[in-house]
């Protein structure tokens, strides 16, 4: 029987967990016994390496033109960025695929042949980034069962663990190496219902590392009067690997010292926190918006649960305290909850006949309901009741935050005499955009509905979007009068029209 696994493909660290024979989620260690694999890729002696060695190479490459390594590429998923590595040039998909291959290969060694895997993505990952993740899995030769939002995976693990003292509404606060997500969900036993999800695509530990690096650099320059140029930033004192260690120490201590070219530089937690205050404010803003979006009173939350390594920082814990009026619950290992949840979700989504009896029992107990993480609509004309200029608007049909599966219908009408065709577009946006501006509203699928000729304008057209449990959205454009209908199917996991 093949093994059911879930993968947390992180910005700084990745991890893999298994849904074991007893129906429990357990971490899978690498050959050296470590659970966290640095998400770094390097070409060392003509050999592709992933993990700790590559991470070492990457910090040595810092500030240098000719690099032989790459890291933090998850943030560029879905963009056209290229990473030169030696004579090669890799895109984020290829780099992620190296990481996935590495994880899969040690997982396979540990637990045997793999069933289709689940991979996690940040809740506010764009469609392109999701698609890029799917492509990376494919090019790593992995069969993908599904992708799942990281905070939702974390929530599943918390629900499973039984460590939450009561049913109720909880916030999942997920601050990792690259991204921030805040999800509000209702927990009841082992079931999770997401209420709202929000996030910041580029905010995480790596930004804090850079801020701390700047603090050290500025202090050094202040002390010595020497200006440190970019190419000297890979000097051991500014080395981001050491800076990260320093940052971790600052989570435990008020003050740390570091040697830079023979100088002792002292950095206080206060100085560091001042440097990252803008990031903290943004986390604040984002959480406030999420609470508002989910219509949740922060003081009535039953608890705040954490995911992501950066939640260990005292300033973040204070922020949680201030925002929600309560301390976050520290009941699990924040580095592992996402991978463990992914493994649970993989079990939950598996066909029962490939599971052991105990796995089946465990999978059956769980349930998870997510929400639409975008506004879905259609491009329409606003003719202002026939007066004034016509303009293109984005008319929303399924609102962001609507529990899925769901089905919504809106009514429109034709505008021209003898209109014999309707352009059916399916749009998607993150913000409730009113006007149709292609910068902010994306068309994810298109088609056309033919209409009978010779009719006056004002013919009713009904548009129905059905969003199903498998992340497929069926869209129907129907002419009420003639009954003519156009169906367009969108695969939301991939963010585009379904090929079949």
């Amino acid at each position: 029987m093949s093994s059911v696994i879930g993968i947390d493909l992180g910005t700084t660290y990745s991890a893999v967990a298994q849904f074991d024979e007893f129906g429990r989620p357990v971490m899978i260690p690498d050959p050296e016994g470590k659970y966290l694999l640095p998400s770094c890729v390097a070409l060392i002696n003509d050999e592709w390496r992933v993990g700790v060695d590559a991470w070492g190479q990457w910090s040595a490459d810092y500030g240098i033109e000719d690099k032989s390594s790459a890291a933090r590429f998850k943030r560029e998923m879905g963009t056209s960025k290229q990473y030169p590595i030696g004579p090669h040039s890799l895109n984020p998909v290829e780099l992620s695929s190296h990481v996935l291959k590495n994880l899969a290969s040690y997982a396979e060694q540990a637990v045997g042949p793999l069933a289709p895997v689940v991979i996690t993505v940040p809740a506010n990952f764009s469609n392109e980034a999701r698609q890029a993740t799917i492509n990376a899995a494919e090019s790593a030769g992995l069969e993908l069962a599904n992708i799942i939002n990281e905070p939702t995976a974390a929530a599943m693990y918390y629900a499973y663990s039984g460590k939450l003292s009561q049913a109720g509404i909880y916030a999942v606060f997920d601050l990792g190496g690259g991204t921030f997500d805040i999800t509000i969900a209702e927990f009841d036993g082992k079931s999770v219902e997401v209420i709202w999800s929000d996030g910041i695509a580029r905010l995480g530990g790596v930004d804090f590392d850079e801020a701390l690096q700047t603090v050290v650099k500025e202090k050094y320059e202040g002390l010595t009067g020497e200006i440190v140029s970019e190419e000297h930033m890979n000097h051991e004192g500014f080395d981001l690997r050491r800076i990260q260690d320093l940052k971790h120490s600052l989570s435990r201590r008020e003050k740390v010292s570091v040697f830079v070219k023979g100088q002792v530089i002292e950095v206080t937690r206060e100085e560091f926190e001042a440097k990252i205050s803008n990031f903290v404010t943004q986390v604040y803003l984002c959480c406030e918006n999420a609470l508002e979006g989910g219509n949740v009173d922060p003081h009535r939350l039953d608890g705040v649960i954490l995911a992501g390594g950066s939640t260990r920082m005292p300033i973040i814990q204070q922020t949680v305290q201030h925002l929600f009026g309560q301390d976050p619950l520290s009941i699990a290992n924040v580095d592992e909850v996402v991978a463990l949840g992914a493994a649970l979700y993989a079990g939950h989504r598996s066909d029962t006949d490939v599971l052991t009896k105990l796995q089946q029992a465990s999978a059956a107990e769980m349930s998870v309901q997510d929400v639409a993480n975008k506004h879905f609509g259609t491009r329409a004309i606003d003719d202002n009741f026939g007066m004034g200029e016509r303009r293109l608007i984005n008319s929303i049909i399924i609102e962001k935050g609507t529990p899925i599966p769901c089905s919504m219908t809106e009514k429109y009408h034709t505008v021209a005499p003898n209109q014999t065709e309707i352009n059916c577009t399916i749009t998607e946006c993150d913000h409730e955009e009113e006007t149709f501006d292609p910068k902010f509203v994306r068309i994810i699928a298109e088609g056309s509905l033919e209409l009978p000729p010779g009719r006056p304008p004002g013919q009713e057209i009904q548009v129905t979007y059905k969003y199903d449990i498998n992340q497929i959205m069926h869209c129907y454009f129907e002419d009420t009068d003639s009954g003519k209908k156009k169906e367009i199917t969108v695969d939301l996991m991939k963010g585009g029209p379904r090929d079949d």
Partner: protein, 411 residues
């Protein structure tokens, strides 16, 4: 020998009726078709002219259905099929034209003498008609007739309207010039943009038909540009006064033209000056357009400026904050701005748009910290200009309380 019937030439007559409550003129025809028209596919074209002065001006139409292909000039084109065919000999009056009077726009207001020119056209040599005159394929015109009309027209007249339009445009031009000069000088690029807009106006006027010769029109628009540059050089452009006067003249369309031109001028070099924001603010204010318009303006700027060059003291206007707002309103506004741009980060295209979006998020973060700091002693200089001690919020949301607490604690 058979007797030949005497040929009667084609004749026209008009009558006035009320059609669907609107005064309408009918044109009827009677007589024999010219022999050249036999066995051909025919069309009728009706153009209208104002012949009250020595000059002859075409009549325009407000409805696209009654316009020439490339202008607003009135033309009614009908295939003979549409009027049930034309016999070789038309022995009974037959209606060939229905002219709703309310669509007609004469060159001048008041009572005018108006003539209809009716042409019988062979579509195999489809004659090209521009501003009522045949300019190509003359041989396609098989017959031409004319008749006086006496329609009731209630309109200012397009020559008059065009004159008003040019006056408004000359002010828009000065506004744009003032916006361009807000940073102290008129750059070559700014000048070029403004000039090309003037050319655009000129060409549009030509297409619309403004009763002017090409030369006259050219001189008019050149003069407009020259005067604006002179005033700008002499530093005699008072922004507020200009915008206020636009308020009495500009249509929504002209306001949008104004904004559009100003935005182009402001963004052409990638940086904007605080005075330019203030000017835009004024425009938004006096135009009395919906508040969402100003939001759209800012959105546009954010996408097209080099945001990183916006200095902190300018971020206030830029973020759409109002100095008279209290803390709660300010915070609420910033939160919704954050939500908007953070969400858009997923859709904006790679490159400059995305970098700008990222930069605006940082800017909002900074402002949120700075402008919502409750302690008046520590308030930033930018705030103290107009606003007196910041009123303490009366009702605070949970977020605001939490935020206040954060700031107090961190002191």
């Amino acid at each position: 020998m058979p007797v030949a019937r005497k040929k009667t030439p084609l004749k026209l007559r008009t009558s006035e009726i009320t059609l669907e409550n609107l005064p309408t003129t009918l044109i009827d025809i009677i007589g024999d078709l010219p022999q050249t028209a036999y066995n051909k596919e025919l069309e009728l074209s009706i153009s209208l002219f104002d012949c009250d002065d020595d000059e002859v001006h075409p009549i325009l139409s407000t409805e696209e259905l009654f316009q020439e292909d490339h202008s607003m000039v009135y033309e009614l084109r009908l295939s003979t099929d549409a009027i049930g065919g034309l016999k070789k000999k038309i022995t009974k009056w037959k209606t060939i034209g229905i002219i709703p009077q309310t669509v007609l726009v004469p060159p001048y207001g008041g009572e005018r003498k108006i003539k209809a020119i009716v042409r019988l056209v062979d579509i195999a040599y489809d004659p090209v008609i521009e501003k009522g005159q045949v300019v190509e394929n003359f041989e396609g015109v098989l017959w031409t007739g004319e008749i006086d009309l006496d329609p009731m027209i209630l309109d200012w007249g397009y020559v008059y309207i065009e004159k008003q339009k040019r006056r408004t445009q000359s002010i828009i031009l000065k506004v744009a010039m003032a916006v361009a000069m807000a940073d102290g000088s008129l750059s070559a690029l700014e000048r070029k943009i403004i000039k090309s807009r003037v050319h655009h106006w000129r060409d549009n006027a030509k297409n619309r038909c403004d009763g002017m010769t090409d030369q006259k029109r050219k001189t008019a628009y050149q003069g407009m540009m020259r005067r604006a540059v002179q005033r700008a050089r002499a530093k005699k452009l008072n922004m507020t006064a200009l915008i206020k006067s636009l308020r009495y003249m500009a249509s929504p369309h002209e306001w949008s033209d104004t904004l559009d031109l100003c935005l182009e001028v402001i963004t052409c070099n990638g940086i904007a000056d605080n005075n330019q924001f203030i000017a835009l603010n004024d425009i938004a204010h006096y135009s009395a357009l919906e508040p969402t318009v100003f939001e759209n303006i800012r959105d546009y700027l954010i996408m097209h400026l080099d945001i990183t060059k916006i200095v902190e003291s300018e971020s206030y206007e830029f973020l759409g904050l109002d100095r008279n707002w209290d803390l709660v309103t300010t915070r609420k506004h910033l939160r919704s701005e954050y939500k908007k741009w953070n969400s858009r980060l997923n859709t904006v295209p790679d490159g400059k748009s995305r970098d700008n979006t990222q930069a605006i998020l940082d800017m909002i973060g900074k402002a949120y910290k700075k402008y919502t700091q409750p302690n008046p002693v520590k308030k930033p200089v930018a705030l103290s200009k107009k606003t007196q001690p910041i009123p303490q919020p009366q009702s605070e949301s949970f977020f605001d309380q939490a935020q206040l607490k954060l700031f107090n604690d961190s002191e």
